[in-house]
């Protein structure tokens, strides 16, 4: 027998909770929904667009009636619940009918606050809350001329803009002397006001409404100073009040909102509440991102999983007025303990302010160009130390990683045919169409449906911007701590912590202990878990090859035709005629179709059938070659120049250093691929400054550089430190590698890792802390004892034979 769940309030927060419940426990509940409005669940945020005529009602419906019936949900539209009988666990409707529940979810939302002045109930005075209000406004716009919006906040300005688009003459009345004071500082507010005035809006600032005047219908608005203005329509947009009367009359504890715990339970544990109607830790929320966070937590508890807590939200805001870019987040006003970083270009209408305390972003205000808003917001929520890039932070994230397009291309200005995702050939038009047609909300949704940003991920910023642009600002915000994948709610760091603390030593144990939602994970989480286990328990953990991607499973790179390529290790890129001869003979013997010199100074043999791999490895092994790990999330190559042996500029023996580094590090599994290079002088012929670990020889010793890569999003290294001796280079290298292995997330290269944790962190751990460095290096050496076994030789001798031979040949 299913438990009975009743949702009161057919809005975004409530229905989102149901969606999450259905994902987690599809068969647990028999669900009934009561909504006062005569529609399915629609996207309230889009009301501004509806009013401006940019969308239709159909466009903004999120769940149509089909959705309710497909999921077996009983939907009662246009039916208000008037009473909760908690003792008998029943809700009572306006028409006297009643319905019983085992669990009740209140998502009654909020209503516009109507300021208490005479005439506030005259016909023509409305709020801005639902489709009905929008219809009233559109109706008025057809026949009437003068609209007065009381309230110059987010909602008021969106209403004003919409009514202006509909042809009305609109005056915004605001109590204070700056607009949107809850989201903007004075500078940004001034720029916003100017730009809205240029579009034709009128403003009355610092004006306090005294009365709304009219006989049968609103005619005028009068202010405290005695002035009056004409009004055919008055929209109250001074704020919202949580709808708590239903809960209150049922004796559920309410203050400003329905008071809920971190599990979104009210004082009656059978009754949950989410959305704008709730008060959590003293705060109420009116933006969608927090509501969705509540929904996730609430659904988790309704589904009897009971592992999540809602701990409040940091919110960010964007104004949904087409053509005006505005963003704010956090504590943007600052106080005596904060500093301000400001960029202002009046001529171009660009303003950016970051409020910083102890090199951590506390708040941000942006006007005119908000493309970096989500980046700042991430830095804010992650409390990232920005000291390493503080000098340039105001200029944005440099580039969004759209290497084909350059920095200055704003997504909004891009044509529909512009390619956003170069890996999968997805254009802006494709993405916008998918977002609109399939009603996508999150980055993951867009990835699943369009593949955009699902491969190398470098266009993620662009896709997020497009998402924000298309569906409204607050949607795209990813959860603060991202779960590893859809199989779990735990983040990378949670999982690594659990592995260490609870001595979990197999993939199965991790899946069981952390109560994975899928029977045996997926292609995304299993390789990550396998890596974390390899890293945590060197020598003890038995590598789970079925959790490795094919390339690592068979120690060769799969090619588009299903054949493989192999790259033998050539230490430091230094070879001999004899070595080349033996390679040539082997390539000829196996009729290798293509022999290619790689960017990392190695020789790639391409087009080898899988069944031939063990034989060719056998020959390579006899000739003294070991695997080059060109297929793995592992230490790849050490590229070198000829250095002081030959080069007239060479300052140190970079070739020997390269060979020593490669002998030290080969075979190590890492979160992502890891490349090294050693240059013999600052001319840097080995391109050490775009490697994960780059060494540049100078007359006085060695400069160490970290966190660089070529590829889609080129990043030059950060300078780590200078060391005097060759031994020190090796120790620092080992320590850095181990720190990266232990702290980075799986599939995170050193570049994004360092941007996430900060170079200062790396320096603290291993440059300024000699003991820490030595300990890290020791752990690396210890794990190398088990890692430096040539996988090719083992397989040439028969290991994993099943990988290389067919099960059977038939017919």
């Amino acid at each position: 027998m299913k438990e009975k769940l009743i949702l009161v309030g057919n809005g975004m927060a409530g229905v989102r909770t149901l969606e999450e419940v259905l994902k987690l426990a599809p068969d647990h509940y028999d669900i009934t929904v009561y909504g006062e409005e005569p529609y399915g669940n629609y996207n309230r945020i889009m009301l501004s667009h509806l009013l401006a005529g940019e969308k239709t009602v159909d466009d903004i419906i999120i769940n149509d009636e089909q959705w309710y019936s497909d999921n077996g949900i009983n939907l009662h539209k246009g039916k208000a619940i008037t009473k909760i009988d908690r003792r008998n666990r029943k809700v009572v409707c306006a028409d006297g009918s009643s319905d019983s529940y085992e669990r009740l979810l209140l998502a009654t939302g909020s209503q516009p606050f109507m300021i208490p002045v005479p005439g506030n109930d005259l016909p023509g005075v409305i709020g801005f809350r639902d489709i009905h209000d929008v219809n009233s406004m559109l109706e008025a716009a057809k026949k009437k001329k003068h609209a007065v919006i009381i309230g110059g906040g987010l909602l008021g300005l969106e209403a004003a803009n919409g009514l202006m688009q509909q042809g009305m003459s609109v005056t915004v009345v605001h109590l204070l002397d700056t607009l949107m004071e809850r989201q903007l500082d004075a500078s940004a507010a001034t720029m916003l006001k100017r730009s809205l005035e240029e579009r034709g809006l009128h403003f009355l600032m610092a004006a306090e409404t005294e009365a709304i005047i009219g006989d049968q219908h609103v005619e005028k608005v009068r202010f405290k100073d005695g002035t009056e203005i004409y009004a055919d329509l008055v929209v109250m947009a001074v704020g919202i009040r949580p709808n708590i009367s239903l809960a209150q009359t049922a004796g559920i504890h309410c203050e400003r909102g329905i008071v809920v715990s971190d599990t979104l339970q009210t004082y009656d544990p059978r009754i949950y509440a989410v959305g704008e109607c709730v008060q959590h830790r003293g705060l109420t929320y009116g933006l969608v991102a927090p509501l969705f966070e509540m929904s996730r937590v609430c659904a988790n508890h309704l589904a009897h999983l009971g592992i999540r807590r809602y701990e409040g939200s940091v919110t960010s805001t964007k104004l949904k007025v087409t053509g005006i870019d505005l963003f704010s987040a956090g504590n943007f006003e600052g106080d005596e303990n904060t500093e301000e970083l400001v960029f202002r270009d009046e001529a171009q209408g660009i303003y950016r302010k970051l409020v910083v305390r102890d090199n951590r972003i506390q708040g941000a205000v942006m006007y005119g160009d908000t493309i970096d808003g989500s980046w700042y917001f991430d830095l804010l929520r992650d409390e990232t130390d920005i000291s390493d890039f503080r000098k340039t932070i105001l200029f944005g994230q440099g580039h969004l990683g759209d290497s084909g397009h350059g920095d200055d291309n704003r997504v909004a200005a891009m044509s529909d045919s512009a390619e956003i995702c170069g890996c999968n050939g997805v254009s802006k038009g494709d993405i916008v169409k998918a977002i609109n047609e399939k009603k996508l909300f999150t980055l993951d949704d867009v990835r699943a449906h369009t593949k955009a940003s699902s491969s190398c991920g470098s266009c993620t910023g662009l896709v997020e911007s497009l998402l924000a642009l298309t569906v409204g600002g607050d949607y795209s915000v990813a959860p603060h701590l991202k779960p590893l994948c859809a199989c779990t709610d735990y983040s990378h760091d949670d999982i690594r912590g659990a592995i260490a603390k609870n001595e979990l030593k197999s993939v199965r144990k991790v899946l069981d202990f952390l109560e994975w939602k899928t029977p045996d994970g997926c292609g995304k989480c299993r390789p990550a878990l396998n890596y974390y286990l390899v890293c945590a328990w060197p020598g003890e953990y038995k590598d789970d090859y079925q959790s490795r991607f094919i390339n690592e499973r068979v120690h060769a790179n799969i090619q588009k035709d299903g054949s493989y390529s192999i790259v033998p290790r050539i230490w430091g890129g230094d070879t001999t005629p004899a070595q080349l001869k033996s390679l040539a003979q082997i390539a000829e013997k196996y009729e290798v179709p293509t022999v290619h010199i790689t960017g990392g100074q190695r020789i790639d043999l391409l087009g080898i059938a899988k069944s031939v791999l063990p034989a060719i490895w056998g020959d390579l092994s006899k000739a003294g070659f070991v695997s080059g790990h060109a297929y793995g999330k592992a230490v790849r190559t050490v590229k070198t120049c000829v250095g002081s042996d030959w080069c007239r500029f060479g300052t140190q023996n970079s070739t020997k250093m390269g060979i020593d580094l490669e002998k030290l590090t080969w075979g190590s599994w890492t979160p992502h691929k890891f490349k090294l290079a050693v240059s013999g002088c600052p001319r840097n012929c080995a391109e050490a400054t775009i490697k994960d670990f780059g060494v540049v020889a100078v007359d006085s010793g060695w400069e160490l550089h970290v966190g660089g890569n070529g590829g889609v999003k080129v990043r030059a290294t950060d300078f780590l430190c200078h060391v005097d001796s060759a031994e020190a280079v090796l120790e620092y290298c080992a320590a850095f590698l181990q720190l990266y292995r232990e702290r980075a997330h799986y599939l995170e290269r050193t570049a994004p890792w360092i941007e996430r944790v900060g170079l200062s962190f790396i320096k603290d751990e291993m440059v300024d802390n000699a003991e820490g460095r030595q300990t890290l290096a020791q752990r690396f050496y210890a794990s190398q004892k088990f890692a430096q076994v040539d996988p090719w030789a083992e397989r040439a001798e028969g290991l994993d034979k099943h990988e290389f031979t067919p099960l059977k040949k038939v017919g």
Binding site: C522, I550, N551, V810
Partner: protein
Amino acid sequence: MQAVPGLEDQDTQWIDVGSLKDIPSLGARVVKSAKGDIAIFRTADDEVFALRDRCPHRGGPLSQGIVHGKRVACPMHDWKIHLDSGEAVAPDEGCTTRFPVRLEGDRILLSLIPNKKCTHK
């Protein structure tokens, strides 16, 4: 013993292609046939499935993918394919031909007459 839902009848020609233990748990092996490669998958709870070893997307060898639940992730572009139906996991669309396969004791018996031909490419 476990039967795959499908159309096989008493006339089905079953071919013994090997033993269950020849395939790693959560792994796959290939049967080479005149009609092309057929991938035999083994799940965590020792069910077996057989699909043409070609992803409906761009022909990647599904036998080389990561098996999870009753799905395999193609090694080429990470499409997920349902092992029991051959259909791509939504929102991707496409399907790959599946073959009747069953266990008798620990022997794997395969039929070369497809369960279902796919209408997709």
